[in-house]
Subunit: 351 residues, 4 copies
């Protein structure tokens, strides 16, 4: 198969760089365009990016000239790492112009006709795309990834929802500094400290799972009825969002049964064909001191959920911890997997 040409919108920022790194050698996609702000347009990507990831700028992309973020790029697919405000304006213009917009931005996550997509959880939500195109008279479309903290918890919630029904989840996160982008969190604020507040994060954690775990029927979405409570903390950890979660089931289930539900879970069949799909999507660690961000965030190249320490909860039914890598599974890698699913499902043409 010939590779599908793609562009990265806002390629010089923290998430944009991850897209660059991960797409540089992708089997299905080839980056042929990168866009940036006024400061960078017209310059070579390798010259104007302030590269914050280990290793070097991939040479093939370093040599691309940065374009303005306008819907005149000669590609069918754009990966968007745009800031929220710009995404709100620009992503619909790309969708209207026929592009498949695979976005990591929050602007349209909760729009009723935009799939908030995690291939292993709700691959059927892509049927919203047709509604979206009809609603707006677009030839293209927008598909969004959830917030990186939502990602950490949503797969175990999905598994429990399917197995036992899910009434409530009470969530406390410990989130890495890379989630705030660059320059992001000042070192004077976070060294030897915790900041018990991330703007808008609690709200996202209390809302997005209801959509991802909702049902789509006849191109219409119904939110899941789950009571959610979240409190997000920023901790001095570089990568990896760890969440401590208590859940209440609809049906009776023991901690052993809940562990069994996790370890016996298999991703939907459609995921098997996606090149970025990890060999093991959910890793359950039996040790009593896992998961840990530094030891577990890179599991399966940063694409796995690692869950552990599941046990009875003295207030709700069971407690557990879950972690994903916030800039990989929780951002760039998650969006790339979304794009792969869209190819597999035919929403993006394979040439």
């Amino acid at each position: 198969m010939k590779k599908i040409p793609v562009a990265i919108l806002a390629a010089t920022g923290a998430v944009g760089q991850r897209f660059v790194q991960l797409l540089a050698d992708h089997p299905w996609f080839e980056v042929v365009a990168v866009t940036g702000s006024e400061r960078t347009t017209g310059r070579l990507y390798g010259d104007c990016v302030r590269w914050i990831l280990p290793g070097e700028v991939p040479p093939a992309i370093a040599g691309l000239t940065v374009s303005p973020t306008e819907p005149d790029l000669d590609v069918p697919v754009v990966f968007s790492a745009l800031p929220t405000q710009e995404a709100r304006d620009l992503e619909p213009r790309f969708a209207a112009a026929g592009y498949a917009v695979v976005t990591n931005a929050s602007a349209f996550r909760m729009a009723a006709d935009v799939p908030l997509l995690v291939p292993e959880i709700n691959p059927d939500h892509t049927t919203l795309i047709r509604a979206q195109q009809q609603n707006h008279d677009w030839s293209g479309f927008i598909v969004a990834s959830p917030n990186c903290s939502t990602t950490s918890i949503v797969l175990p919630l999905k598994i429990f929802q399917d197995a036992f029904g899910l009434e409530a989840a009470l969530i406390t996160t410990m989130q890495a500094i890379s989630g705030a982008g660059y320059p992001g969190v000042p070192s004077l604020s976070i060294m030897d400290n915790i900041i018990p507040h991330i703007g808008g994060e609690d709200e996202k954690l209390e809302l997005e799972p209801k959509k991802i775990l909702g049902t789509v029927a006849e191109q219409a979405l119904t939110l899941a009825e789950i009571r959610l409570s979240a409190q997000a903390n920023r901790v001095p950890v570089i990568d990896g969002h760890l969440a401590s979660v208590s859940v209440q089931f609809s049906d009776l289930a023991t901690a052993e049964e809940a562990v069994e539900a996790l370890t016996s879970w298999q991703p939907p069949v459609v995921c098997a064909g996606l090149p970025s799909s990890p060999a093991q999507t959910l890793v359950y660690r039996p040790e009593d001191d896992r998961p840990q961000p530094r030891l577990d965030r890179n599991a399966q190249d940063g694409l796995a959920w690692t869950v552990g320490k599941l046990r009875p909860c003295g207030v709700l039914d069971v407690r557990f911890l879950a972690i994903t890598h916030n800039t990989l599974r929780g951002a760039a890698s998650g969006s790339i997997l979304n794009a792969e699913l869209l190819v597999e499902q035919g929403y993006i043409d394979r040439d």
Copy 2:
């Protein structure tokens, strides 16, 4: 008033050093003896202690010769920083020999006739002392401080218990490395990381508040009936145990009423006469990003509880964050305050 001579048991360890630092200049107590392990006995304290606190060893105490930990010290009061195992054996021997044992060790915290004492919360629990003396035929007694993580949450729980009744509390802590003593947590384990496990801590958090918030009548203790769920995390923070807590009340109460309960609370009158009592025992921070360990742990010389971010909880009634300094309020300072209360109440003679 002449100062009351006191001894510090296990004075060279991390908590012992805090006792040394805080008692060096105390208005009521004078350290006249320090004890230590075989390695240190017979040597000057200043020569054998590996001092890990900022500043110097207080000169008056540096010049004391370290004694073995045996009940032949010429003092009426001993502050115990003994490790659990040694405390289990030694503290009863001191109590039997007539000493007032004011301990920070966990060995007897849950013993039915040992007050688990926080002066601002349950000063009446000291009436258990008489029962304790009768039960064991002791002339002395043991009074214990709670675990440092328990301390962080127990005052707000008490206030809510009094105001609205308390059904349940779901607790997730982010605890400082100093809580593990010295050498304690290896830097390779905690830098850029979180360890979601502290041995025995979840159990203490789920048990000790029931005793502290319990009732003592006719020298007998009844545990409070509160459902508790706790998960303790070690985070890369030097001092200060932060807890994210959701609570369910017996009576209906809004978040505003809960904040009002906190801010209008006043410590029991008996506390006013204690020299270490902070001017303000509970500080409520209205900012949405407080409390923070580095900014709030030293409030009121490390003796205050700082609470913040109280708001409705999507699963239980309200959520909030609370912090105390784990080696001050949560350990040495807390025990010293206990001793002061015992003086004030007449359990320790003022000369």
Copy 3:
């Protein structure tokens, strides 16, 4: 003595806040005005400052209304925490208008007629003030503090210069993040990392000591002839600039003699009368693992130099380590001590 009214220029920034904190209760000075940028002028200081220090904004200063930074303040003395560019324009205007400008900014540090002042080292350099006033026809004047990294090393260099003559110093610093102000260093840049570059810092370290250690005669300054080489590193430490220094003397001297020079050194007599003068200006630590930032930066309330580990150098004569607290001795406290010296010497009137 009635207190001297003073103003703080740029009082809301990181250094400005330190001035506020330290001057809130000063025996000689009383803060009656604070200035700030357009965003803050006209508002109460306590309402518009984003306070980053532990503790609260001092109430007396919280209630001051922020003024624009213009030379129409009713005080004889201004403490300047202005950014370099603004200092370049504004400080001469204040000096021209008759103010004593005691500055922490770098704008005029190397001006030939501006004293680069450390009271314990070169109190006689204030005789440059008259030359400065004549050169510019100013009724006021500017007196500058050195860069915070220069401060760390310059007292031991002075002592060696006086004792043995000083030919060369080779300096490698490990500097705290607070030296970059707020927001300053992004946490993503410095966590688990070192940045071996601080803009302009190497140059300041190679230049400023020559002025401070130079001689002033007949109101003219001669730079000291010392070869200097410096390389500044930013390290993940909150406060305290540590320097590893090798020096070459003019005269033969052993490491023992060099230690003796340090420990027998006494500050100039004039310093004894300054209220902020520490009881001990230079602390020599004999342990082989000192000084350490966290243990030694606060020595003498952050006003001491702590030196240690002096031993023969295999290339030059001796090596040692020195540390000062960069925002106290190396910034705000140092400037306040300068102002106290100016009062003592009569350059600032005691009413």
Copy 4:
């Protein structure tokens, strides 16, 4: 070629684990035995190791039963991660029994007839092996790797020695916590801090380069005559030893010429055939804020030296910074490369 069976001595420690990780899939060597202390012998490696590296224990090695460290292993080559004291006793017994002992321990580094080997620097030093065997009447031999901090600086020193002659080097290191093994540095000692002392490290830095840069003729070693001064600091960085170095050349050379010497240098031809040889051995970074531990330690899979910021020194000739990954190039990977060289040179038989 059939793989050469090898054993790892002290395989459960921090360095031993790195050997396990790196040799699990080596093209020339196959781990068939691992040894450990009494606590672990007789148990499966995967069951008794407390694995501190990211990822899992390699399955093939997890299934090996841990042997006592005795010279009765059925392999021709042992990689030694023994502690110094044990190495002093055990390594000669293995050499006497005919084993090629490729060691990372310090016990015999400075022995006159033991090559202190870095393949890219002194591959000819292996001719000392014959002398060693004759001196001790051994059929096997010991070859040592330098200390991890020595490694960081010794390649640039070698290049300068060859290009311009080397008179002196003045070294200040900032070393990672992983250099101290596990549990190693307590977090309470190093968080928000620097420890300016690492036991024995300054001495190693001032001695080992003289041997590595020395000459071997007629099976006898002559130390290089270079004046060295070193001061080692422990910093809160996980991996990567960074060194700030000033050097004095024998011949006149500019900073530009020194950079040219570094960038034009090529490793000895023999290295090209070693499977672990990096594509680029020395990386020169032109940016003024490089090298940085987090960004550069993993260059070339942790086998490269990264050098930067070379410029004139105000005291000696030039200054620069250099970094290597301390547990890879500076420990396990370096020793593996040594073993590969020994195979290539015929000191270890390819079956």
